[in-house]
Subunit: 343 residues, 2 copies
DNA sequence: CACTATGTCTGCATCGTTGCAGAGCCCTCA
DNA sequence: TGAGGGCTCTGCAACGATGCAGACATAGTG
């Protein structure tokens, strides 16, 4: 089972362990003849370095962990892809874990026996655990927060400007002449900070147009899945004056809402226009295709990994809030116009 | 940066390193008084065990790797979720990596300096690398193959019965009275073994009904993304006698195909019925919702992890091909009937 | 020719943890 | 009283690799 070690190779080539190590790593000059002899032994035994041992000696593992609530939520899957790619470019591999939004699971990360010590750094997209709590618990491993929770000065944090993003999405609907614009996805409680930012963008857009917000049009949802979007939409349709547009706090909610609208026999965007957030690929292929606010995921991943690398590298900057650009992508669900080709 | 070690704690509590280790692990009996003293020191220093050192000593890491072509392909994301859950139940964590279907990246896994040595086992969903090649290269780590490639006797392999699955999907379309059933996703070359199995199921379904297959209705696609589905569908629509149904080799192709149909002004399923494979969540919320063949992903993940654990545990069984159940889920894209509630 | 510089190669210590074997100590029982 | 046994606790070695300092041989210099 266990493979050959440096010692085995050294014995076979009749050299010191250290020399084999040097050949493997190309660290020190080794004469051609000896190198050949060692290389032969390496090949014959099919030597593979034991990375765990190397890690122990070097005090680093070359691994970072990415912790997200749910990996099968497209936004996180797409983000994970970018993080893996970005980390790879820096010579790191990524361990992906999901917490299912379970506070306990998120807390485990910080606990006494957490696996966190195995990693050089942590990228965390927390759902339930608060930054306060994160700070309170000891942490020995550099952490960068992704997308969720507001800045509290304790951690690096990479996200888009949620208020502007939501304001622009809502403004787009208002500019189309819609006057009863609903919002799906508010979370008026402690861990719903991101959702609250979006609600406040939604309000700002109305305020700038001098419009009142009908509070009944703001529908909170505990989670951001298709199902909640559908349910919220159904609920909105029972209002005496149903909405003529909906701003959903992510694309999954929007897709669920569109599904509910279609089922109710309504047309998108003719009867109700729909906007989402996240720009998941699915929204390009839905019927109708989905207008959305696209965060620059590549950039989020790249910045997060970069900042984490810096923290690991030992030049820790003071915690910074890094704002990544976003842009509104207009598709059929608000204009009825098919864009030329799905991008 | 570096945290306190057992030695630091031992010094503080004025006991031997070994005793601290015993307290941490609960291995040996320790008197209450001493345990309290050690525990106090542990708490004061906020000791966290160095898992890398533990791993080195114990010769296992408690990590397995899951390697998939693309993490943002919903099927793989959903599978990854199940694998992570299944592994977690067995006390393992999962490192997820993606190869982008790049042969080189897949080969790296097996190379001299592969990270594979860091893991106790490997779950591999290969796209380009052949099982032959996998076998040819040395591998010291237990490997279980997922879903792709046919059995060649060298590895454990977990998958559904692709031939039956494709046959049932096609038969469903034929049973609805469709007579020009197209197939999107064939891959008539070395690494397209899974696709070929599906094509052969497609042919079997026709044969059982005594029907000829129009070869022009079989459209190969290099990859299984929405875009290829749309392109293939567009191509099919240019035929003198376009199809009245399509069997797509996965759900993404099917969603792309539906998008192309809608854009061409055709109705699903009235003009063209569509079936996919994989049962990704997106298909429950598409318009129309998507009829599909659902592999039991939970079971795939569970079996794969179980078999891998066995191999790791040192009771290696001879490589087995494990067939996991699947079932046809009928939705609007073939019958026009909305199921009661998206499940 | 003595002396330093250079180029190769090696042994020892170490990373932080756990396995193993055994040292004390106290208690029990013949 | 003394042998035997159980309970605690400890030191040493080892997992497999790398950092460091130095040994040795050869080459270069005045």
């Amino acid at each position: 089972m266990a493979g050959p070690t440096l010692r085995d190779v050294a014995k076979r080539a009749n050299v010191s362990i250290r020399t084999v190590s040097n050949v493997v790593n190309g660290y020190a000059p080794v004469s051609d003849e000896l190198r050949a002899r060692v290389q032969a032994a390496l090949d014959e035994l099919d030597y593979r370095p034991n990375l765990i041992a190397r890690n122990l000696k070097q005090g680093r593992s070359g691994m970072i962990a990415l912790v997200v609530p749910e990996l099968d939520v497209p936004y996180f899957a797409e983000l994970a892809r970018e993080v893996i790619t970005a980390a790879r470019a820096r010579g790191y591999v990524v361990m992906v874990d999901q917490t299912d939004g379970d506070v306990e699971r998120e807390r485990e990360l910080l606990g006494r026996n957490s696996r966190a010590t195995m990693f050089d750094g942590l990228l965390l997209s927390p759902l339930s655990v608060t930054a306060e709590e994160l700070r309170a618990r000891g942490h020995r491993v550099p952490i960068v927060l992704l997308g969720e929770h507001i800045f509290n000065g304790s951690f690096h944090h990479v996200a888009i400007d949620n208020v502007s993003a939501a304001r622009e999405a809502t403004a787009h609907l208002l500019a189309l002449g819609r006057r009863r614009v609903a919002a799906i996805g508010d979370q008026p409680y402690a861990t719903g900070e991101t959702a609250q930012l979006r609600t406040s963008g939604y309000r700002q857009a109305h305020a700038r147009e001098g419009l009142e917000v009908d509070e009944r049009l703001i529908v909170p949802t505990p989670r951001f899945h298709r199902r909640q979007g559908a349910t919220a939409m159904e609920q909105l349709l029972t209002l005496p004056e149903p909405p003529d547009a909906v701003f959903c706090y992510n694309d999954l909610l929007a897709l669920g809402a569109m599904r509910a609208l279609t089922r109710a026999g309504l047309r998108v965007p003719d009867d109700v226009a729909v906007v989402g957030m996240d720009d998941i690929e699915e929204g390009q292929y839905s019927t109708p295709s989905l207008t959305t606010v696209a965060p620059d995921k590549k950039e989020i991943a790249r910045m997060a990994v970069d900042v984490l690398m810096e923290s690991i590298g030992g030049t820790p900057r003071p915690p910074a809030e890094i704002v990544v650009p976003h842009r509104l992508i207009v598709r059929e669900s608000t204009t009825g116009q098919a864009p030329a080709v799905p991008t």
